[in-house]
Symmetry: C2
Subunit: 347 residues, 2 copies
DNA sequence: TATCAGCACTCTATCCTATAGAGTGCCAGC
DNA sequence: GCTGGCACTCTATAGGATAGAGTGCTGATA
């Protein structure tokens, strides 16, 4: 790669045409085809010169001597960042989103629907992370005695989701004691994010052990157990993975297995998606940019979604690098916004 | 297919050898190989005669003239039902099961572990259905007011699993009323299976509308809502699907996509597994026997598992028809028993 | 009558070669 | 700086030859 070339208007226009053409039909693009595609009246020979320059700059490459050129990751990156003309969202698709992406009693249902719509519309794989518990705020907490030292803790969060967990306490509590503990916690902590609650709880335990009365101490200690993040309960809902089996660039079984393994391990995918939590809007990983070998032939288009203006999760589309970015990007963007809206509690 | 042939001892012995050989190395088995494999001192020519008979009977077939023979579904069926010599369980595998398949607070964790062990050990796909709510018995029910007419119902079942659901009630209840309703239900119905509870509840509503006091009626009506089976919450945990990508008989992308689609739709797979709920022990579907096109190249080896001697779910292994049944069958069998043990409440 | 050696036949898989087609790089002329 | 022309390269495809595996059948044998 050699950067003392100039990327003038014409080269960019040709790069754009090449990427668009390649995305459209998946074949390496030759100079003759490009000459016909653009309104610049240039002969194939001239275009070949420009293409040689683009290749020097590492933006395109040729699979072999007598094939045309295909975009490299840098080529796609430049295309997406500077050349792409995003298409407005299809009104049918918007209608579909508005019709189906609505509030439900069960958050998982909404997440599942979002994931499915993403995959159905794009005909690629859709992924939506569950709202991060950490970031979601506590609405209500409750303790139920199960047996001896086992206590069921139930907490209702911001987005009307109910979580439960079984605690093993060091001593036995009466139902009344548990009720009292819950009352205390609700009065003090309701409305804070779970992360904030945990932080406050830890502080309280550290600062005020002696001054606290017995009941409050019990309550706080139980809250500590209840909010223990434990083995990251982070998860996502994936849909339409099988759509990826149709793409020729992913038809190598080794690769495909690696990709699907990554999907079921979840760890790597979650890590990748987490990187998009703080992005302003749509963020894109092209091929090897993700840093995961399994995703080398794939691109990931993501957008964070929010509840009450607080980002709590990420959704996105996974497909071959050769995808219709100009349609996928706005679609992912809007879906994220509408998912946030559907998850916002109405009260 | 023509059945006026006689299946004598020798033919069966040869069929057995052929299936075993084919399972071992996946190549069509020729007369010469079979002649060496068996201790019957028969020349390839004689064996060819027998093979022609077996082919007439529809037990084996030849992919083309100059290939050997492979078993048909009927051939596999006969092999499994009458010829198979099941191997005792490997002690390492038993140790693995005993070590990992132990009681946990969370049923889903245990199910997940079982599924993973099934796939890891067999290097095929493992599947375990969640315990059917219907069949599991009620231990404890609780109502929590959420807001206005929304009530959170929580029920703890037999296997220590906690389920929750949001009800929309027609009128508003005070916490005390909800507590009273729960008390009533717990005193009357605890210990029955959810299906039995629902049945009793419906009967009560029908019979005794007038005689009942107001509170009990409310309680029963709420129970009815809570136990509504709704969109079948039946589900399963699948592991190691990607193992199936390694098998040459499943390497056709069309087929593979169909199979994975079936996995994510779940409906068909659940229906198939449900058929095994009432089987006495291990049940096997070979290829097209399942009745699902997606599974045409696959076999499914299943066994039901029980909690408190009540069958509540099914587990199994999915792999190519050409699998080591003599090892898989006992393994699935034992795993089902140990899963049942791990799910049994200790009290 | 059951078994078996021998043989002609069939089908597949593999390798080699030839050929057409697509696309390039470079050069010389405008 | 652009372009037509041309030699060159590489791929994909088809055809043909060959080796190998395995079969079915026949006629001989015990």
């Amino acid at each position: 790669m050699n950067n003392n070339q100039v990327l003038n208007e014409r080269s960019l226009q040709l790069l754009k045409a090449l990427v668009e053409r390649y995305i459209q039909d998946g074949q390496p693009v030759g100079s003759r085809a490009l000459s016909k595609d653009t309104e610049l009246k240039l002969s194939p020979a001239t275009i070949r010169n420009v293409m040689a320059d683009l290749e020097d700059m590492g933006l395109i490459r040729s699979p072999h001597t007598s094939a045309g050129r295909v975009p490299t990751v840098s080529g796609y990156r430049l295309f997406i960042d500077s050349l792409l003309t995003v298409k407005p969202l299809d009104s049918e698709e918007l209608k579909l989103l508005r019709k189906n992406l609505i509030a439900k009693d069960n958050v998982n249902d909404v997440i599942g629907i979002a994931s499915r719509i993403l995959s159905d519309v794009t005909r690629m794989a859709g992924v939506v992370t569950l709202p991060k518990r950490e970031l979601v705020s506590l609405r209500h907490i409750e303790f139920l005695p199960l047996s001896n030292t086992r206590v069921l803790v139930i907490f209702v969060t911001n987005e009307q989701e109910v979580h439960n967990k079984i605690l093993h306490t060091s001593k036995q509590f009466s139902p009344a004691q548990l009720q009292q503990a819950a009352n205390y916690l609700n009065s003090v902590y309701a409305g804070l994010s779970l992360a904030a609650v945990r932080k406050a709880v830890l502080k309280e335990l550290k600062d005020a052990q002696e001054q606290m009365n017995r009941e409050m101490l019990d309550a706080v200690q139980m809250a500590k157990l209840a909010l223990d993040p434990e083995n990251s309960d982070e998860d996502y809902v994936l849909s339409g993975e099988t759509n990826l089996m149709g793409f020729s660039e992913l038809s190598d079984m080794e690769r495909l297995k690696e990709l699907f393994d990554a999907f079921s391990q979840k760890r790597g995918v979650i890590h990748l998606l987490d990187q998009c939590l703080n992005a302003e809007g749509v963020q894109i990983f092209i091929g090897e940019e993700s840093g995961y070998h399994a995703f080398e032939q794939c691109s990931l288009v993501t957008a964070p979604y929010s509840i009450n203006e607080q980002v709590v999760g990420v959704l996105g589309v996974i497909g071959p690098t050769r995808m219709a970015y100009e349609k996928v990007i706005p679609f992912v963007d809007v879906t994220a916004k509408l998912l946030g809206a559907a998850l916002n509690p109405k009260t």
